[in-house]
Assembly symmetry: C2
Homo-oligomer: 161 residues x 2
DNA sequence: GTGGGTGCAAAGTGTTTGCAAGTGT
DNA sequence: ACACTTGCAAACACTTTGCACCCAC
């Protein structure tokens, strides 16, 4: 929905590349367009598939080489839910402090923010002699559907565009 | 320090095995003794090394086959800090709701608990239509030493017993 | 004795990398 | 032109697994 913000993020990433004297190739363009046109969290494999819709020449290697750039730019966040693949979150620029709830069954992910929690984290870290560099709060739970039906229909609903 | 509690946890795990009709082999004994005699967080590889001090016949496969039992029993918690290996926390039985701060440089891990945060998590999850199944709050930061000296001397200090 | 358990080495899985060819600037 | 990029496939690192032998109960 906030198309403007997404366009903005995309532009920021282009600037980031320029600043590092990195080139905007057609493959990177396809990847970038994909990343900054979705609100969904995605895996490397999904990003590859989606990017290939825009440019068939995108390879797995390029996706894996581009992801670190995206996270380094601060516009995308890498998330590890303890599954064997990582998720990437393209909404990080807009909400740098958000957290996640993930359904244990269908991988449905919901974001939330809490100033109160952030504040408590700051207090505690300081008390323990640390400065916060990054923070991740992940809640695993059962979504409504899982609670009611015992299983989720959305299962893997995010696997395809 | 709370040797009794640790002994208690060990006994609970033995009971867990018995209930599932699983056997207490010498290799499992060595692994269990290791797990429930440390307060430290460890990786699979560390557990293998330490267990071999007690019983040289412990193999990597057995360690990897025993870890799921430990987590399933609820006495050990698997933690994923986004590194390529997982950490395991043997203090979970005593403090089921604790969280972690990890130094980005030396992997020093400090535990903390916060009822206030737990309460906020509950409220938020409920509001979003989830029941909490598990929760993990991980803060990555700079420890005192890293802040002062720019590097940590403890680096990998937990790699050996 | 029997069904679970073990070590070994091979297989898996997600991710990284060496290399020769290709391409943005 | 030159340095950065790419695709491919081989290499990696951690974890899992098939199999024949072993052992706790």
């Amino acid at each position: 929905m906030p198309v403007t913000e997404k366009q903005n993020a995309k532009q920021k990433f282009m600037d980031f590349l320029a600043k590092k004297q990195l080139r905007i190739t057609s493959q990177r363009q396809a990847i970038i367009d994909t990343v900054f046109s979705t609100e969904e969290h995605f895996t490397a494999e999904q990003l590859l598939e989606w990017s290939r819709h825009r440019d068939k020449s995108v390879s797995r290697a390029t996706v894996y080489r581009t992801l670190p750039l995206l996270t380094e730019s601060g516009l995308v966040r890498e998330m590890d839910f303890g599954k064997d693949y990582k998720f990437y979150d393209p909404n990080y620029a807009e909400h740098p402090n958000h957290n996640h709830i993930i359904c244990q069954d269908c991988d449905k992910i919901v974001e939330f923010e809490s100033e109160k929690i952030a504040k408590l984290e700051d207090e505690i870290s300081h008390k323990l002699g640390f400065s916060i560099k990054a923070q991740r709060l992940q809640i695993t739970g059962n979504c409504e559907e899982l609670k009611k039906l015992g299983a989720c229909r959305h299962k893997s609903c995010h696997e395809h565009e």
